[in-house]
């Protein structure tokens, strides 16, 4: 998605902008927007980071101080150990990693079958998978929760186990849609050639389809990880054991008992992993936003 780097012709032409008055106006707008964006989007992070460094009295005093008077690093240590932030972050990472793995294996295999192997009634299955996109997820939370609590046929209870996050994450119609559409664009001849060379469907998927599909696999992976980190209602229902909770649910439960200074440190710590993840994968993440056929 390098195209946003290139200069395209926009509302205001370069010629218009080169007039002295327009130029002055442009620089004024820029001078307003740069600090405005910092105030709106960076300052809250600053407030969390410094709030976590203030003493218990300073953090709740009115009016608040803009800089901590003394740096109380111990708040961060307390948040990490006593508020079991380390546990919550580890849990969420395991859930996100597992959800990613299961989605990559099951959804890629399914989309490949629907696109290239096309078994009988494949279209019916595809339609049923895509139809779930029309169903509001929050409405299904209750019946899915009751299903996870006592899985039909096998009668096991998945609550408070990673499976309660991993397996439902596979039932994602959007993944199927994205992957199948991408696989459809891979020429049939390529696979037929592999078949002549004696490659079975699994070999063809592994050595031909997957290497070509790296961009879409990246998009699906990022969606999978971000979804687990951001989800709230579902983990709230299925993970009530404090030792098993995600960051979001842990923070919600901690908020009653914890002192404001340590809790603010906890808020900041819990925000760091995803922001680091974002800074590393920013190009893929921003590019992935338009991958969902949103180009119209």
């Amino acid at each position: 998605m390098a195209h946003y780097e290139t200069q395209t012709r926009t509302l205001i032409s370069a010629a218009q902008l080169s007039r002295p008055r327009a130029k002055a106006f442009y620089w004024i707008v820029l001078a307003i927007f740069i600090p405005l964006f910092a105030a709106i989007f960076i300052f809250p992070l600053y407030w969390m980071a410094t709030g976590g460094l203030k003493s218990a009295q300073e953090v709740i005093q009115s009016p608040p101080t803009w800089f901590p008077r003394a740096l109380h690093w111990s708040n961060y240590v307390d948040a990490w150990n006593h508020l079991r932030l380390s546990r919550l972050l580890l849990n969420t990472t395991i859930y996100a990693g597992g959800a990613l793995a299961f989605q990559l294996v099951f959804d890629v295999a399914a989309a490949y079958a629907l696109s290239k192997l096309r078994p009988v009634f494949g279209n019916v299955i595809l339609f049923m998978m895509l139809a779930t996109l029309m169903i509001p997820a929050t409405v299904l939370a209750l019946p899915t929760f009751l299903t996870v609590f006592n899985l039909p046929i096998v009668h096991v209870n998945l609550t408070n186990s990673p499976w309660a996050i991993w397996l439902p994450s596979v039932a994602n119609g959007f993944n199927i849609f994205l992957l199948k559409r991408f696989f459809d664009s891979i020429p049939e001849e390529l696979l037929a050639a592999a078949a002549i060379d004696g490659a079975g469907p699994l070999r063809a998927l592994w050595s031909i389809v997957l290497p070509i599909s790296r961009p879409i696999l990246g998009v699906v992976s990022i969606f999978a990880v971000v979804a687990v980190w951001k989800d709230f209602l579902w983990p709230l229902l299925v993970l009530n054991n404090p030792a098993k909770q995600t960051v979001n649910i842990g923070l919600y439960e901690l908020q009653q008992g914890a002192p404001q200074d340590v809790f603010t440190a906890a808020l900041f710590i819990s925000s760091i992993p995803m922001i680091v993840f974002f800074l590393i994968f920013q190009r893929n993440i921003m590019g992935g936003l338009t991958a969902g056929g949103l180009k119209g």
Binding site: V29, F37, A193, K230
Partner: protein, 315 residues
């Protein structure tokens, strides 16, 4: 040249192979279907347990009286009549609709305006794009608790700044007048990154000649915006409009963390009420019935959008 010859030979080869496959014996065709189903199995099982069956179960439960132990009786339409006579039913719908409408004014307009402005800015482009997306990547609970603290009428940051500027302060989440708008402001802040970046990509795809043509006809800034920018981004604008309405009608986290559904139940939205029915009152029947009503409305809305946009394509 050699490569062309090879590929030519291959394509002939393929043709005979296809012909062979068309006449493939039953056994090998069955094998192909069986392998296809093997590849589908994992996803189909997950969809079955965690999507298809819950959809059916939602429907069944809305006509049942049931509890956690699994004792069930059929009660016909009773769940629907009961929730209809619950005064909270109507306030919850009003709260969800109010949230959606306010989110249209802010959450829908702000990213588009931001994208149009950012698209004109020739400097610090990655700075703006990076910053606007930061909140999207925060754990929503962490962001919500931070904002709850900002909104505190006493020592909160917002009132402190307002006091310093000698402006009137607000009760924010604690007043029935401003609670909903406070939720929408937070929601706009945390979500606007996605919309802004999607619009920016769409704006980049507008052919520059259209603006030049408009200028030759003497169009000013706002005429260009109205006659070029908006029509050229119409599809993406309408798609995000539909997605946003469906999403905001399901708002849960904002009232749950920021306002606890209060004050005076003003911000108890439909999904919040479903949660209350199910997990505070253990009344799964009412929860399922209310969920079913929401499902029908939102699926109907999405279906109508698809139908209209398809018809628009044909016309």
């Amino acid at each position: 040249m050699a490569t062309i010859n090879v590929s030519h030979a291959r394509s002939i080869d393929l043709r005979t192979d296809r012909a062979r496959r068309r006449r493939a014996p039953l056994a090998s065709r069955l094998r192909r279907h069986a392998i296809g189903y093997l590849f589908l199995a994992g996803a189909v099982i997950c969809f079955g347990f965690f999507s298809w069956w819950p959809i059916i179960r939602e429907l069944i439960m809305s006509f049942q009286k049931t509890n956690f132990a699994g004792d069930t009786t059929w009660v016909g339409m009773k769940n629907f009549t009961r929730i209809r006579h619950d005064p909270e039913f109507w306030t919850a719908w009003r709260a969800s609709i109010e949230f959606s409408l306010l989110a249209l004014v802010f959450g829908y307009a702000v990213p588009f305006i931001a994208a149009v402005v950012l698209n004109e800015i020739r400097h610090a482009r990655s700075y703006f794009r990076l910053l606007v997306y930061l909140p999207v990547m925060m754990p929503p609970a962490a962001a919500a608790f931070l904002w709850k603290w900002f909104y505190d009428p006493g020592d909160g940051l917002f009132n402190t700044v307002l006091r310093d500027l000698h402006l009137p302060t607000s009760q924010w989440l604690q007043s029935t007048n401003t609670a909903m708008i406070s939720l929408v402001l937070f929601s706009t802040w945390i979500n606007m990154g996605s919309g802004t970046l999607i619009y920016l990509a769409a704006l980049q795809n507008i052919p520059g000649e259209l603006y030049e043509a408009a200028e030759i006809e003497g169009a000013g800034l706002f005429r260009k915006l109205w006659h070029v920018t908006i029509p050229q981004t119409r599809l993406i604008l309408s798609l995000l409009l539909m997605l946003q309405i469906v999403a905001t009608m399901q708002v849960f986290l904002e009232p749950f963390i920021l306002s606890g559904g209060g004050p005076e139940g003003k911000t108890t939205t439909v999904v919040y009420l479903i949660y209350e029915y199910a997990f505070h009152f253990n009344n799964y029947g009412s929860a399922a019935a209310l969920g079913f009503v929401l499902l029908v409305i939102l699926a109907g809305f999405g279906g109508a959008y698809l139908w209209l946009s398809r018809r628009g394509d044909e016309a």
